[in-house]
């Protein structure tokens, strides 16, 4: 085909642009003009990342921020308890006060049946709750992410095997299964982590698997494979970061769920053992005194309610923030 023909073709397709003597497009044409509308403005705009965008959106969600602030406060109180509680209040296990005192300046939340300061017990009680929330969910995440990733990425027999196992876990009533597991492992905080953690993986695995299934169809995964990337690299570099958003949301909400489960188990006497305080066991001890000493139930109950609510609000806010389709 001759040069003239090419020119002719260019004219037909509306491709004619400024050209130098050799028929090549001039440098100017490539750099300015309609190719890059507003290239200058782009340079001036601050660099925004996916996560940066998400945080900007999260900040606009008041409920999520309230949740975040409350979670931060609870974590700060739990971590710093040793520094200030014993100086102003009694140790949570100190029994020297008069029994069943109503809230007062000295004991803001009152005292319990054997004279322990309820405020200091509520503060210390946050420790098992938060640690169960975080550790049990970490165990679920570790198991669920690995199994969900294998399931979604490789598919086939492995997928079927993992997902049917998950179905078996789902087939048992959750609370009953937890209690049965604790009956085998024995009560105690450490075993509560393990039990809740082990029982939590199937839902995480399912969520992650479906997320991977959709991400893996993207062309950039094909592009990575065509670039010579190994399976591991494709999995961890290209698929995981794009599939992780629903897990962050689900994980955050699961922390709330794990706190409730811990409280329920402690209430039933399978969790934290006396005299260590936990919100669930405090409720359990208070159940006979609900009418004469309502402060014994109100404060630990309030702590559970607000903390779980805060985690759920945070998770909800993250779901909205990480949803790219909701881009403003």
């Amino acid at each position: 085909m001759t040069r003239e023909d090419k020119k002719l073709h260019d004219v037909q397709s509306g491709m004619e642009g400024p050209r130098d003597a050799g028929g090549h497009p001039t440098k100017d044409e490539r750099v300015v003009g309609p190719i890059l509308p507003g290239a200058g403005e782009v340079a001036a705009r601050p660099a925004r990342t996916l996560w940066g965008d998400a945080f900007t959106r999260l900040r606009k969600n008041k409920l999520a921020i309230i949740g975040l602030v409350w979670v931060t406060i609870v974590i700060a109180l739990a971590l710093s308890a040793d520094l200030w509680v014993p100086r102003f209040f009694a140790e949570p296990t100190f029994t020297g006060f008069g029994s069943l005192e109503a809230p007062s300046a000295q004991h803001p939340f009152g005292t319990d049946r054997i004279g322990r300061d309820v405020f200091s017990r509520v503060v210390y009680g946050s420790r098992p709750s938060l640690s169960v929330g975080v550790l049990a969910v970490s165990i679920s995440l570790a198991l669920g992410l690995i199994l969900g990733a294998l399931s979604g990425y490789y598919g086939g027999v492995l997928d079927a095997f993992i997902m049917r196992t998950a179905d078996v876990f789902f087939a048992f009533p959750y609370m009953l299964f937890t209690i049965a597991l604790l009956a085998v492992l024995g009560p105690g905080l450490q075993n509560v982590f393990i039990a809740i953690g082990i029982l939590g993986w199937p839902s995480i695995a399912r969520v992650f698997r479906s997320s991977i299934l959709s991400v893996k169809e993207n062309e950039y995964v094909d592009a990575a494979r065509a670039m010579g990337a190994s399976d591991l690299r494709i999995m961890f570099r290209h698929i995981m970061p794009n599939a992780i958003a629903p897990i962050i949301v689900y994980g955050t909400m699961s922390i709330g769920g794990a706190i409730i489960t811990e409280a329920a188990l402690s209430y039933l006497g399978m969790g934290v053992q006396a005299p260590t305080p936990s919100w669930g066991s405090m409720l359990s001890e208070a159940k006979a005194l609900m009418i004469p000493a309502p402060w014994l139930t109100i404060w630990p109950g309030f702590a559970i309610l607000t903390t779980v609510l805060a985690f759920v609000l945070m998770g909800d806010g993250m779901r909205d923030a990480l949803d790219v389709k909701m881009k403003d």
Binding site: H9, M15, V31, I35, A47, L50, D222, A226, G228, H238
Partner: protein, 338 residues
């Protein structure tokens, strides 16, 4: 010896309804620095041919059933998985149709361009980043050092395709496979991307396999053209030969269905009637015969072999090169004009 030789390549997919012969006996050779265009309708096996060369056919359900792919004397189909990975991106690179989805949204553009360099050349993060900036500059992205730090969603479609080209060429591959690289772009941007590819090919001597259904693209770029229909090659030869003396009625159909200001002032486009056949149930004889206006009894019974019509120009039609077909075509064309 040619850079890449493909002979009698057959790729099949096993589906519930039967075996799909997506590529059925394709042979071609690609010389150093040349451009081969693979042309055909959707589903004619163009992309599967390219993916087979890269050994990117998902198995199962796909399988390369027969044939040879020889890259510089080395058989690609016999390579170990590790060798294939070492080849992909380094010796043969690929760019995809939709630049909007072929960049990973969570990584900076520069990082992604550098990834192949880190994989194949063992470069450090810093070296790869520096090279990525050079590549972005090479493909005409202004302010490259700054833009390399941007995320894909901050790039326009044309810029993303430029970035994809930069990514593919980062390791200086012998062959660049471009699977409809301009289909998803605006017409003005299409022209720029093609010019860019031509320019880079001249500078770097990369051989290109261009998969397209846009004959305008073929006219701009290709040295050789292979026309595919229903998984088979129907015509193969130099671009000049295929454009100026097309031998297969399907190629005529493709050319006639293009708007051509220079020839047909009446502005009538002649579409090819009918639909491409299902690859599970390919018609007996010549796969094109149900749509071919010149089909004879023989076309319904025997599948025409690909044969040389003139030196270097092959066609798979019983009547290619014979007078009867040409006379038939002229008569039809006159009929249409009248």
């Amino acid at each position: 010896m040619a850079l890449l030789e493909v002979s009698d390549l057959k790729t099949q997919f096993t589906t519930r309804d039967g075996v799909v012969r997506a590529v059925d006996g394709v042979s071609f050779a690609l010389e150093e620095g040349h451009t081969l265009a693979i042309v055909g309708e959707s589903g004619s096996g163009k992309s599967v041919t390219a993916l087979s060369i890269m050994r990117l056919i998902p198995d199962p359900p796909g399988k390369i059933a027969a044939g040879k792919v020889v890259l510089r004397g080395e058989s690609v189909l016999d390579m170990s998985d590790a060798d294939v990975r070492a080849m992909r991106g380094d010796r043969i690179a690929m760019i995809f149709q939709d630049p909007m989805t072929s960049l990973n949204p969570v990584f900076r553009v520069g990082f992604q361009i550098g990834e192949a360099l880190r994989i194949h050349k063992g470069m450090s993060r810093k070296e790869a980043d520096a090279r990525a900036v050079e590549m972005l500059d090479l493909v005409g992205i202004p302010n490259a050092p700054h833009r390399a730090k941007d995320y894909p969603h901050q790039f326009s479609g044309g810029m993303r395709q430029r970035a994809m080209i930069a990514m593919a060429l980062a390791c200086d591959p012998d062959i660049l496979i471009a699977d409809e690289p301009t289909t998803a772009l605006d017409v003005t941007i299409q022209a720029q991307i093609l010019e860019l590819m031509i320019e880079l090919q001249q500078r770097k001597g990369t051989a290109i396999i261009m998969i397209t259904h846009d004959l305008g693209v073929v006219a701009d770029m290709a040295d050789d053209v292979m026309v595919m229909y229903a998984g088979k090659q129907v015509e193969y030869g130099s671009a000049d030969a295929v454009f100026y003396s097309p031998q297969h009625p399907y190629t005529w159909g493709l050319l006639d269905s293009l708007p051509r200001h220079d020839i047909d002032e009446k502005g009538t486009l002649l579409p090819i009637e009918g639909q491409p056949p299902s690859l599970i149930d390919v018609p007996p004889g010549c796969a094109f015969h149900p749509r071919c206006p010149y089909a004879q009894a023989v076309c319904r019974e025997t599948c025409p072999e690909l044969r040389e019509i003139e030196p270097g120009h092959m066609a798979a039609c019983h009547f290619a090169g014979t007078d009867s077909l040409v006379r038939g075509r002229v008569a039809t064309a006159e009929g249409e004009v009248r």
